[in-house]
Subunit: 274 residues, 2 copies
Protein backbone atom coordinates (compact mmCIF):
# COMPACT_ATOMS: atom_id res chain seq x y z
CA UNK A 1 0.00 0.00 0.00
CA UNK A 2 2.94 2.40 0.43
CA UNK A 3 2.91 3.20 -3.29
CA UNK A 4 -0.81 4.05 -3.26
CA UNK A 5 -1.83 7.69 -3.54
CA UNK A 6 -3.17 9.92 -0.78
CA UNK A 7 -6.73 11.07 -1.53
CA UNK A 8 -7.55 14.71 -0.86
CA UNK A 9 -11.11 15.98 -1.03
CA UNK A 10 -12.57 19.49 -1.03
CA UNK A 11 -15.79 21.15 -2.21
CA UNK A 12 -13.76 23.04 -4.81
CA UNK A 13 -10.35 24.64 -5.10
CA UNK A 14 -9.88 25.83 -1.49
CA UNK A 15 -8.40 22.48 -0.45
CA UNK A 16 -5.51 23.09 -2.85
CA UNK A 17 -3.96 25.17 -0.03
CA UNK A 18 -3.93 21.94 2.00
CA UNK A 19 -2.63 19.93 -0.97
CA UNK A 20 0.21 22.46 -1.30
CA UNK A 21 1.19 21.87 2.34
CA UNK A 22 0.92 18.10 1.87
CA UNK A 23 3.21 18.16 -1.21
CA UNK A 24 5.72 20.31 0.70
CA UNK A 25 5.70 17.90 3.65
CA UNK A 26 5.52 14.67 1.61
CA UNK A 27 7.10 15.37 -1.79
CA UNK A 28 7.49 11.69 -2.71
CA UNK A 29 3.85 10.80 -2.21
CA UNK A 30 1.32 10.49 -5.02
CA UNK A 31 -1.88 12.49 -4.60
CA UNK A 32 -5.39 12.32 -6.08
CA UNK A 33 -7.26 15.56 -5.40
CA UNK A 34 -11.03 15.78 -5.96
CA UNK A 35 -12.89 19.11 -6.00
CA UNK A 36 -16.70 18.90 -6.09
CA UNK A 37 -16.96 22.03 -8.25
CA UNK A 38 -20.39 21.06 -9.63
CA UNK A 39 -21.98 21.48 -6.19
CA UNK A 40 -19.75 23.97 -4.38
CA UNK A 41 -19.88 25.83 -2.07
CA UNK A 42 -20.63 23.60 0.90
CA UNK A 43 -20.35 26.43 3.45
CA UNK A 44 -23.92 27.70 3.02
CA UNK A 45 -25.61 24.30 2.73
CA UNK A 46 -27.35 22.17 5.35
CA UNK A 47 -25.39 19.56 7.38
CA UNK A 48 -27.44 16.73 5.82
CA UNK A 49 -26.63 17.81 2.28
CA UNK A 50 -22.94 18.44 3.03
CA UNK A 51 -22.65 15.02 4.69
CA UNK A 52 -24.29 13.31 1.69
CA UNK A 53 -22.09 15.09 -0.87
CA UNK A 54 -18.93 14.45 1.18
CA UNK A 55 -19.63 10.75 1.49
CA UNK A 56 -20.16 10.44 -2.28
CA UNK A 57 -16.85 12.17 -2.90
CA UNK A 58 -15.02 10.07 -0.31
CA UNK A 59 -16.38 6.89 -1.87
CA UNK A 60 -15.26 8.05 -5.33
CA UNK A 61 -11.73 8.67 -3.99
CA UNK A 62 -11.69 5.30 -2.22
CA UNK A 63 -12.14 3.72 -5.68
CA UNK A 64 -8.73 5.16 -6.64
CA UNK A 65 -7.15 2.83 -4.08
CA UNK A 66 -6.00 5.58 -1.73
CA UNK A 67 -4.01 4.64 1.38
CA UNK A 68 -5.25 7.61 3.34
CA UNK A 69 -8.06 10.14 2.86
CA UNK A 70 -7.73 13.83 3.76
CA UNK A 71 -10.98 15.82 4.03
CA UNK A 72 -9.41 19.18 3.13
CA UNK A 73 -12.63 21.14 3.59
CA UNK A 74 -13.57 22.53 6.98
CA UNK A 75 -17.32 22.37 6.36
CA UNK A 76 -17.14 18.74 5.18
CA UNK A 77 -14.81 17.84 8.08
CA UNK A 78 -17.15 19.44 10.59
CA UNK A 79 -20.26 17.48 9.57
CA UNK A 80 -19.17 14.55 7.39
CA UNK A 81 -16.24 12.96 9.19
CA UNK A 82 -18.01 10.38 11.41
CA UNK A 83 -20.07 8.99 8.50
CA UNK A 84 -17.08 8.87 6.16
CA UNK A 85 -14.98 7.04 8.79
CA UNK A 86 -17.78 4.54 9.29
CA UNK A 87 -18.25 3.86 5.57
CA UNK A 88 -14.67 3.98 4.25
CA UNK A 89 -13.20 1.03 6.10
CA UNK A 90 -9.49 0.24 6.43
CA UNK A 91 -8.42 3.68 5.22
CA UNK A 92 -7.45 6.36 7.76
CA UNK A 93 -9.58 9.48 7.30
CA UNK A 94 -8.09 12.78 8.44
CA UNK A 95 -10.07 16.03 8.64
CA UNK A 96 -8.76 19.58 9.03
CA UNK A 97 -10.68 20.65 12.14
CA UNK A 98 -8.71 18.60 14.69
CA UNK A 99 -5.28 19.71 13.35
CA UNK A 100 -6.52 23.32 13.21
CA UNK A 101 -7.71 23.13 16.81
CA UNK A 102 -4.35 21.67 17.88
CA UNK A 103 -2.50 24.48 16.11
CA UNK A 104 -4.70 27.06 17.84
CA UNK A 105 -4.23 25.57 21.30
CA UNK A 106 -0.48 25.39 20.75
CA UNK A 107 -0.28 29.02 19.60
CA UNK A 108 -2.52 30.65 22.20
CA UNK A 109 -1.04 31.92 25.45
CA UNK A 110 -4.25 33.22 27.02
CA UNK A 111 -6.69 30.56 25.73
CA UNK A 112 -8.86 33.28 24.20
CA UNK A 113 -9.23 31.99 20.64
CA UNK A 114 -11.20 33.39 17.70
CA UNK A 115 -12.34 31.28 14.74
CA UNK A 116 -13.59 32.53 11.37
CA UNK A 117 -15.16 30.01 9.02
CA UNK A 118 -18.13 29.38 6.71
CA UNK A 119 -21.70 29.64 8.01
CA UNK A 120 -21.98 25.85 8.11
CA UNK A 121 -18.75 25.30 10.05
CA UNK A 122 -19.60 27.97 12.62
CA UNK A 123 -23.17 26.74 13.06
CA UNK A 124 -22.00 23.13 13.58
CA UNK A 125 -19.68 24.18 16.42
CA UNK A 126 -16.99 21.61 15.51
CA UNK A 127 -14.04 23.99 16.06
CA UNK A 128 -15.43 25.19 19.36
CA UNK A 129 -15.81 21.57 20.54
CA UNK A 130 -12.40 20.43 19.23
CA UNK A 131 -10.60 23.32 20.95
CA UNK A 132 -12.42 22.75 24.24
CA UNK A 133 -11.56 19.03 24.15
CA UNK A 134 -7.86 19.91 23.96
CA UNK A 135 -8.02 22.92 26.27
CA UNK A 136 -11.09 22.95 28.48
CA UNK A 137 -10.25 26.43 29.88
CA UNK A 138 -10.28 28.06 26.42
CA UNK A 139 -12.72 30.81 25.47
CA UNK A 140 -13.73 30.35 21.83
CA UNK A 141 -15.52 32.95 19.76
CA UNK A 142 -16.50 31.82 16.24
CA UNK A 143 -17.94 34.00 13.45
CA UNK A 144 -18.81 33.37 9.80
CA UNK A 145 -16.91 35.28 7.10
CA UNK A 146 -18.60 34.08 3.90
CA UNK A 147 -17.50 36.93 1.59
CA UNK A 148 -13.87 35.83 1.99
CA UNK A 149 -14.68 32.78 -0.16
CA UNK A 150 -15.95 34.90 -3.07
CA UNK A 151 -13.03 37.34 -2.72
CA UNK A 152 -10.44 34.55 -2.83
CA UNK A 153 -12.11 32.83 -5.79
CA UNK A 154 -12.26 36.08 -7.74
CA UNK A 155 -8.61 36.95 -7.04
CA UNK A 156 -9.58 40.05 -5.03
CA UNK A 157 -7.68 38.84 -1.97
CA UNK A 158 -5.50 41.96 -1.77
CA UNK A 159 -6.47 45.62 -1.94
CA UNK A 160 -8.90 48.06 -0.34
CA UNK A 161 -12.03 45.90 -0.78
CA UNK A 162 -10.37 42.90 0.89
CA UNK A 163 -9.10 45.16 3.70
CA UNK A 164 -12.55 46.67 4.31
CA UNK A 165 -14.27 43.28 4.40
CA UNK A 166 -11.59 41.87 6.75
CA UNK A 167 -12.14 44.85 9.06
CA UNK A 168 -15.91 44.35 8.85
CA UNK A 169 -15.66 40.74 10.03
CA UNK A 170 -12.78 41.02 12.49
CA UNK A 171 -13.23 44.37 14.21
CA UNK A 172 -16.13 43.15 16.41
CA UNK A 173 -13.84 40.38 17.75
CA UNK A 174 -10.53 42.21 17.95
CA UNK A 175 -11.56 45.81 18.70
CA UNK A 176 -14.73 45.33 20.78
CA UNK A 177 -16.71 48.44 21.66
CA UNK A 178 -16.61 47.32 25.32
CA UNK A 179 -13.12 48.52 26.37
CA UNK A 180 -12.99 46.01 29.25
CA UNK A 181 -13.59 42.98 27.00
CA UNK A 182 -10.60 40.70 26.56
CA UNK A 183 -9.33 40.26 23.03
CA UNK A 184 -8.32 36.90 21.49
CA UNK A 185 -4.58 36.33 21.06
CA UNK A 186 -5.08 33.69 18.35
CA UNK A 187 -7.19 33.55 15.18
CA UNK A 188 -7.99 30.27 13.42
CA UNK A 189 -8.60 30.48 9.66
CA UNK A 190 -11.31 27.81 9.64
CA UNK A 191 -11.84 27.65 5.88
CA UNK A 192 -9.28 26.58 3.30
CA UNK A 193 -9.98 29.71 1.24
CA UNK A 194 -8.96 32.09 4.00
CA UNK A 195 -5.14 31.70 3.89
CA UNK A 196 -5.39 33.48 0.50
CA UNK A 197 -6.50 36.59 2.44
CA UNK A 198 -3.72 36.39 5.04
CA UNK A 199 -2.45 39.90 4.24
CA UNK A 200 -5.82 41.62 4.66
CA UNK A 201 -6.58 39.55 7.77
CA UNK A 202 -3.23 40.47 9.32
CA UNK A 203 -3.87 44.18 8.72
CA UNK A 204 -7.30 43.88 10.35
CA UNK A 205 -6.16 42.09 13.54
CA UNK A 206 -2.77 43.77 14.06
CA UNK A 207 0.74 42.37 14.45
CA UNK A 208 0.37 40.64 17.82
CA UNK A 209 -2.35 38.08 17.06
CA UNK A 210 -1.24 34.53 16.15
CA UNK A 211 -2.92 33.49 12.90
CA UNK A 212 -3.12 29.74 12.38
CA UNK A 213 -4.63 27.54 9.69
CA UNK A 214 -4.98 23.80 9.32
CA UNK A 215 -2.81 23.21 6.27
CA UNK A 216 0.63 22.67 7.84
CA UNK A 217 -0.69 20.82 10.92
CA UNK A 218 -2.86 18.57 8.76
CA UNK A 219 0.16 17.72 6.59
CA UNK A 220 2.22 16.92 9.70
CA UNK A 221 -0.59 14.75 11.02
CA UNK A 222 -0.83 12.80 7.72
CA UNK A 223 2.96 12.35 7.75
CA UNK A 224 2.90 10.98 11.31
CA UNK A 225 0.03 8.56 10.61
CA UNK A 226 1.70 7.20 7.46
CA UNK A 227 4.99 6.67 9.31
CA UNK A 228 3.27 4.94 12.17
CA UNK A 229 1.45 2.59 9.77
CA UNK A 230 4.63 1.99 7.73
CA UNK A 231 2.91 3.37 4.64
CA UNK A 232 5.35 6.11 3.61
CA UNK A 233 6.52 5.94 0.00
CA UNK A 234 10.31 5.71 0.09
CA UNK A 235 11.34 4.75 -3.44
CA UNK A 236 11.56 6.98 -6.51
CA UNK A 237 11.53 10.72 -7.00
CA UNK A 238 8.75 13.27 -6.79
CA UNK A 239 5.23 11.90 -6.51
CA UNK A 240 2.50 12.47 -9.09
CA UNK A 241 -0.52 14.71 -8.56
CA UNK A 242 -3.85 13.92 -10.25
CA UNK A 243 -6.50 16.61 -10.21
CA UNK A 244 -10.18 15.62 -10.50
CA UNK A 245 -13.18 17.95 -10.58
CA UNK A 246 -16.91 17.47 -11.02
CA UNK A 247 -17.28 20.55 -13.25
CA UNK A 248 -15.51 23.34 -15.10
CA UNK A 249 -11.93 22.39 -15.99
CA UNK A 250 -11.09 25.91 -17.19
CA UNK A 251 -12.27 27.62 -14.02
CA UNK A 252 -10.64 24.96 -11.84
CA UNK A 253 -7.36 25.59 -13.65
CA UNK A 254 -7.48 29.39 -13.58
CA UNK A 255 -8.70 29.81 -9.98
CA UNK A 256 -6.89 26.72 -8.69
CA UNK A 257 -3.50 27.95 -9.93
CA UNK A 258 -3.61 30.76 -7.37
CA UNK A 259 -4.46 28.36 -4.55
CA UNK A 260 -1.87 25.71 -5.44
CA UNK A 261 0.71 28.38 -6.29
CA UNK A 262 1.68 26.65 -9.51
CA UNK A 263 0.20 26.81 -12.99
CA UNK A 264 -2.57 24.27 -13.65
CA UNK A 265 -3.69 23.73 -17.25
CA UNK A 266 -7.29 22.69 -18.06
CA UNK A 267 -5.89 19.52 -19.68
CA UNK A 268 -4.53 18.37 -16.34
CA UNK A 269 -8.02 18.43 -14.79
CA UNK A 270 -10.05 15.22 -15.21
CA UNK A 271 -13.84 15.52 -15.05
CA UNK A 272 -15.61 12.93 -12.90
CA UNK A 273 -19.29 12.39 -12.07
CA UNK A 274 -20.32 11.64 -8.49
Amino acid sequence: MSKAPIGVFDSGVGGLTVLRALIAQLPREHFVYLGDTARLPYGTKSPQTVARYSLQAAEALADYGVKCLVIACNTASSVGLPTIRERIENVPVIGVIEPGAQAACGASRTGNIAVIATEGTVRGGAYQQAILRIRPDARVNAAPAPLFVALAEEGLHEGPIANDIATHYLRPMFSPSDAGASVPDTLVLGCTHFPMLAGAIRRAVGAKVQIVDSAATTAASVDAQLREAGLTRTEGGEGLVRLLATDGRERFASVGSRFLERAITPDEVELVDL
Copy 2:
Protein backbone atom coordinates in the same frame (compact mmCIF):
# COMPACT_ATOMS: atom_id res chain seq x y z
CA MET B 1 -55.70 24.86 -17.13
CA SER B 2 -56.47 28.45 -16.03
CA LYS B 3 -56.55 27.37 -12.37
CA ALA B 4 -53.15 25.67 -12.61
CA PRO B 5 -50.16 27.35 -10.97
CA ILE B 6 -47.33 29.19 -12.68
CA GLY B 7 -43.99 27.47 -12.08
CA VAL B 8 -41.01 29.67 -11.26
CA PHE B 9 -37.50 28.26 -11.12
CA ASP B 10 -34.22 29.71 -9.86
CA SER B 11 -30.91 28.35 -8.62
CA GLY B 12 -31.71 29.74 -5.16
CA VAL B 13 -33.44 32.78 -3.69
CA GLY B 14 -32.50 35.38 -6.33
CA GLY B 15 -35.53 34.49 -8.45
CA LEU B 16 -37.77 35.66 -5.60
CA THR B 17 -37.25 39.20 -6.98
CA VAL B 18 -38.94 37.92 -10.16
CA LEU B 19 -41.65 36.11 -8.17
CA ARG B 20 -42.34 39.41 -6.35
CA ALA B 21 -42.88 41.16 -9.69
CA LEU B 22 -45.07 38.29 -10.92
CA ILE B 23 -47.27 38.42 -7.80
CA ALA B 24 -47.61 42.20 -8.18
CA GLN B 25 -48.60 41.83 -11.85
CA LEU B 26 -50.76 38.71 -11.43
CA PRO B 27 -52.10 38.70 -7.85
CA ARG B 28 -54.82 36.11 -8.55
CA GLU B 29 -52.46 33.49 -9.94
CA HIS B 30 -51.13 30.53 -7.95
CA PHE B 31 -47.35 30.07 -7.98
CA VAL B 32 -44.97 27.20 -7.28
CA TYR B 33 -41.41 28.49 -6.80
CA LEU B 34 -38.46 26.09 -6.79
CA GLY B 35 -34.98 27.17 -5.63
CA ASP B 36 -32.18 24.64 -6.24
CA THR B 37 -30.40 25.65 -3.03
CA ALA B 38 -28.55 22.32 -2.76
CA ARG B 39 -26.52 23.10 -5.88
CA LEU B 40 -26.44 26.89 -6.09
CA PRO B 41 -24.82 29.02 -7.38
CA TYR B 42 -25.17 28.33 -11.10
CA GLY B 43 -23.24 31.47 -12.13
CA THR B 44 -19.77 29.96 -11.77
CA LYS B 45 -20.59 26.52 -13.20
CA SER B 46 -20.15 25.16 -16.73
CA PRO B 47 -22.94 25.48 -19.33
CA GLN B 48 -23.33 21.68 -19.47
CA THR B 49 -23.85 21.39 -15.71
CA VAL B 50 -26.21 24.39 -15.55
CA ALA B 51 -28.26 22.98 -18.43
CA ARG B 52 -28.51 19.58 -16.73
CA TYR B 53 -29.53 21.03 -13.35
CA SER B 54 -32.04 23.40 -14.95
CA LEU B 55 -33.72 20.63 -16.90
CA GLN B 56 -34.09 18.49 -13.77
CA ALA B 57 -35.69 21.43 -11.96
CA ALA B 58 -37.99 22.24 -14.88
CA GLU B 59 -39.13 18.60 -15.04
CA ALA B 60 -39.82 18.62 -11.30
CA LEU B 61 -41.96 21.76 -11.68
CA ALA B 62 -43.79 20.28 -14.69
CA ASP B 63 -44.94 17.49 -12.35
CA TYR B 64 -46.85 20.13 -10.35
CA GLY B 65 -49.10 20.64 -13.38
CA VAL B 66 -47.95 24.17 -14.12
CA LYS B 67 -49.59 26.07 -16.97
CA CYS B 68 -46.50 28.14 -17.66
CA LEU B 69 -42.85 27.91 -16.59
CA VAL B 70 -40.70 30.93 -15.78
CA ILE B 71 -36.93 30.39 -15.67
CA ALA B 72 -36.23 33.20 -13.21
CA CYS B 73 -32.45 32.73 -13.28
CA ASN B 74 -30.35 34.53 -15.86
CA THR B 75 -27.64 31.86 -15.96
CA ALA B 76 -30.17 29.05 -16.43
CA SER B 77 -32.08 31.09 -19.03
CA SER B 78 -28.90 31.80 -20.95
CA VAL B 79 -27.84 28.17 -21.36
CA GLY B 80 -30.83 25.96 -20.49
CA LEU B 81 -33.80 27.46 -22.32
CA PRO B 82 -33.65 25.58 -25.66
CA THR B 83 -33.35 22.17 -23.98
CA ILE B 84 -36.11 22.93 -21.49
CA ARG B 85 -38.45 24.11 -24.27
CA GLU B 86 -37.73 20.93 -26.21
CA ARG B 87 -38.37 18.61 -23.27
CA ILE B 88 -41.27 20.33 -21.48
CA GLU B 89 -43.94 20.05 -24.14
CA ASN B 90 -47.25 21.92 -24.21
CA VAL B 91 -46.15 24.36 -21.50
CA PRO B 92 -44.87 27.81 -22.48
CA VAL B 93 -41.38 28.40 -21.06
CA ILE B 94 -40.31 32.01 -20.45
CA GLY B 95 -36.78 33.04 -19.57
CA VAL B 96 -35.56 36.36 -18.18
CA ILE B 97 -32.92 37.22 -20.82
CA GLU B 98 -35.31 38.15 -23.65
CA PRO B 99 -37.50 40.42 -21.44
CA GLY B 100 -34.35 42.01 -19.98
CA ALA B 101 -32.98 42.68 -23.46
CA GLN B 102 -36.32 44.22 -24.49
CA ALA B 103 -36.31 46.48 -21.44
CA ALA B 104 -32.75 47.59 -22.23
CA CYS B 105 -33.49 48.35 -25.87
CA GLY B 106 -36.60 50.30 -24.87
CA ALA B 107 -34.71 52.34 -22.28
CA SER B 108 -31.56 53.16 -24.25
CA ARG B 109 -31.42 56.31 -26.38
CA THR B 110 -27.88 55.87 -27.71
CA GLY B 111 -27.84 52.06 -28.08
CA ASN B 112 -24.72 51.90 -25.90
CA ILE B 113 -25.78 49.29 -23.32
CA ALA B 114 -23.86 47.77 -20.42
CA VAL B 115 -24.72 44.41 -18.86
CA ILE B 116 -23.52 43.05 -15.52
CA ALA B 117 -24.22 39.41 -14.74
CA THR B 118 -22.66 36.20 -13.43
CA GLU B 119 -19.53 34.75 -15.02
CA GLY B 120 -21.60 32.09 -16.79
CA THR B 121 -24.15 34.51 -18.24
CA VAL B 122 -21.45 36.88 -19.53
CA ARG B 123 -19.38 34.04 -21.01
CA GLY B 124 -22.39 32.57 -22.82
CA GLY B 125 -23.11 35.90 -24.53
CA ALA B 126 -26.92 35.44 -24.39
CA TYR B 127 -27.66 39.06 -23.40
CA GLN B 128 -25.34 40.42 -26.07
CA GLN B 129 -27.09 38.27 -28.72
CA ALA B 130 -30.62 39.04 -27.50
CA ILE B 131 -29.98 42.81 -27.52
CA LEU B 132 -28.41 42.71 -30.98
CA ARG B 133 -31.37 40.73 -32.35
CA ILE B 134 -33.73 43.49 -31.22
CA ARG B 135 -31.42 46.38 -32.02
CA PRO B 136 -28.65 45.46 -34.47
CA ASP B 137 -26.96 48.88 -34.12
CA ALA B 138 -26.47 48.48 -30.33
CA ARG B 139 -23.06 48.41 -28.68
CA VAL B 140 -23.11 45.96 -25.81
CA ASN B 141 -20.46 45.71 -23.12
CA ALA B 142 -20.93 42.87 -20.61
CA ALA B 143 -18.92 42.27 -17.43
CA PRO B 144 -19.20 39.75 -14.57
CA ALA B 145 -19.93 41.03 -11.06
CA PRO B 146 -19.86 37.84 -8.98
CA LEU B 147 -19.33 39.43 -5.54
CA PHE B 148 -22.75 41.08 -5.80
CA VAL B 149 -24.32 37.64 -5.31
CA ALA B 150 -22.49 37.04 -2.02
CA LEU B 151 -23.21 40.60 -0.82
CA ALA B 152 -26.94 40.28 -1.52
CA GLU B 153 -27.17 36.85 0.13
CA GLU B 154 -25.37 38.10 3.24
CA GLY B 155 -27.55 41.20 3.54
CA LEU B 156 -24.60 43.53 2.93
CA HIS B 157 -26.34 45.20 -0.03
CA GLU B 158 -26.09 48.69 1.48
CA GLY B 159 -23.11 50.44 3.03
CA PRO B 160 -19.49 51.27 2.27
CA ILE B 161 -18.46 47.74 1.26
CA ALA B 162 -21.31 47.47 -1.26
CA ASN B 163 -20.49 50.94 -2.60
CA ASP B 164 -16.79 50.09 -3.04
CA ILE B 165 -17.52 46.82 -4.83
CA ALA B 166 -20.08 48.52 -7.10
CA THR B 167 -17.48 51.16 -7.98
CA HIS B 168 -14.88 48.42 -8.60
CA TYR B 169 -17.11 46.67 -11.16
CA LEU B 170 -18.79 49.68 -12.77
CA ARG B 171 -16.13 52.36 -12.96
CA PRO B 172 -14.26 50.71 -15.87
CA MET B 173 -17.52 50.83 -17.89
CA PHE B 174 -18.94 54.17 -16.78
CA SER B 175 -15.81 56.25 -16.10
CA PRO B 176 -13.34 54.86 -18.66
CA SER B 177 -9.75 56.08 -18.45
CA ASP B 178 -9.93 56.96 -22.17
CA ALA B 179 -11.74 60.35 -22.04
CA GLY B 180 -12.93 59.98 -25.65
CA ALA B 181 -14.69 56.64 -25.03
CA SER B 182 -18.48 56.78 -25.12
CA VAL B 183 -20.27 55.75 -21.95
CA PRO B 184 -23.36 53.48 -21.84
CA ASP B 185 -26.67 55.22 -21.14
CA THR B 186 -28.31 51.98 -19.91
CA LEU B 187 -27.26 49.26 -17.49
CA VAL B 188 -28.92 45.83 -17.43
CA LEU B 189 -28.91 44.00 -14.09
CA GLY B 190 -28.45 40.57 -15.63
CA CYS B 191 -28.73 38.53 -12.43
CA THR B 192 -31.77 38.28 -10.19
CA HIS B 193 -29.63 39.08 -7.13
CA PHE B 194 -28.54 42.45 -8.41
CA PRO B 195 -31.75 44.48 -7.89
CA MET B 196 -31.00 44.07 -4.15
CA LEU B 197 -27.93 46.30 -4.72
CA ALA B 198 -29.80 48.96 -6.68
CA GLY B 199 -28.76 51.74 -4.28
CA ALA B 200 -25.04 51.00 -4.45
CA ILE B 201 -25.22 50.49 -8.22
CA ARG B 202 -27.03 53.81 -8.68
CA ARG B 203 -24.35 55.63 -6.66
CA ALA B 204 -21.61 54.03 -8.79
CA VAL B 205 -23.09 54.90 -12.21
CA GLY B 206 -24.61 58.31 -11.42
CA ALA B 207 -28.12 59.69 -11.82
CA LYS B 208 -28.37 59.74 -15.62
CA VAL B 209 -27.96 56.04 -16.46
CA GLN B 210 -31.13 53.98 -17.00
CA ILE B 211 -30.97 50.88 -14.80
CA VAL B 212 -33.19 48.02 -15.97
CA ASP B 213 -33.79 44.51 -14.73
CA SER B 214 -35.85 41.62 -16.07
CA ALA B 215 -38.37 41.26 -13.26
CA ALA B 216 -41.11 43.67 -14.36
CA THR B 217 -40.73 42.94 -18.10
CA THR B 218 -40.78 39.20 -17.46
CA ALA B 219 -43.98 39.57 -15.41
CA ALA B 220 -45.56 41.63 -18.21
CA SER B 221 -44.51 39.00 -20.75
CA VAL B 222 -46.05 36.16 -18.67
CA ASP B 223 -49.24 38.20 -18.29
CA ALA B 224 -49.46 38.77 -22.07
CA GLN B 225 -48.85 35.10 -22.91
CA LEU B 226 -51.46 33.86 -20.42
CA ARG B 227 -54.06 36.32 -21.78
CA GLU B 228 -53.32 35.32 -25.35
CA ALA B 229 -53.73 31.64 -24.48
CA GLY B 230 -56.88 32.32 -22.42
CA LEU B 231 -55.18 30.86 -19.35
CA THR B 232 -55.56 33.74 -16.90
CA ARG B 233 -57.14 32.81 -13.58
CA THR B 234 -60.19 35.03 -13.17
CA GLU B 235 -62.14 33.54 -10.25
CA GLY B 236 -61.41 33.83 -6.54
CA GLY B 237 -59.18 36.12 -4.52
CA GLU B 238 -55.44 36.20 -4.05
CA GLY B 239 -53.50 33.24 -5.43
CA LEU B 240 -51.46 30.84 -3.31
CA VAL B 241 -47.66 30.71 -3.29
CA ARG B 242 -45.83 27.42 -2.64
CA LEU B 243 -42.12 27.62 -1.95
CA LEU B 244 -39.92 24.59 -2.69
CA ALA B 245 -36.18 24.27 -2.10
CA THR B 246 -33.66 21.47 -2.49
CA ASP B 247 -31.82 22.35 0.74
CA GLY B 248 -31.76 24.52 3.86
CA ARG B 249 -35.27 25.69 4.80
CA GLU B 250 -33.94 28.03 7.51
CA ARG B 251 -31.51 29.80 5.21
CA PHE B 252 -34.06 29.96 2.40
CA ALA B 253 -36.50 31.61 4.81
CA SER B 254 -34.05 34.10 6.32
CA VAL B 255 -32.30 35.16 3.11
CA GLY B 256 -35.40 34.76 0.93
CA SER B 257 -37.47 37.12 3.10
CA ARG B 258 -35.25 40.00 2.00
CA PHE B 259 -35.62 39.09 -1.68
CA LEU B 260 -39.39 38.53 -1.61
CA GLU B 261 -39.90 41.54 0.68
CA ARG B 262 -42.21 39.61 2.97
CA ALA B 263 -41.50 37.33 5.91
CA ILE B 264 -41.01 33.66 4.97
CA THR B 265 -41.04 31.08 7.79
CA PRO B 266 -39.01 27.86 7.52
CA ASP B 267 -42.29 25.90 7.84
CA GLU B 268 -43.52 27.39 4.55
CA VAL B 269 -40.55 25.95 2.67
CA GLU B 270 -41.00 22.38 1.37
CA LEU B 271 -37.86 20.34 0.76
CA VAL B 272 -37.74 18.44 -2.54
CA ASP B 273 -35.09 16.19 -4.08
CA LEU B 274 -34.19 16.57 -7.76
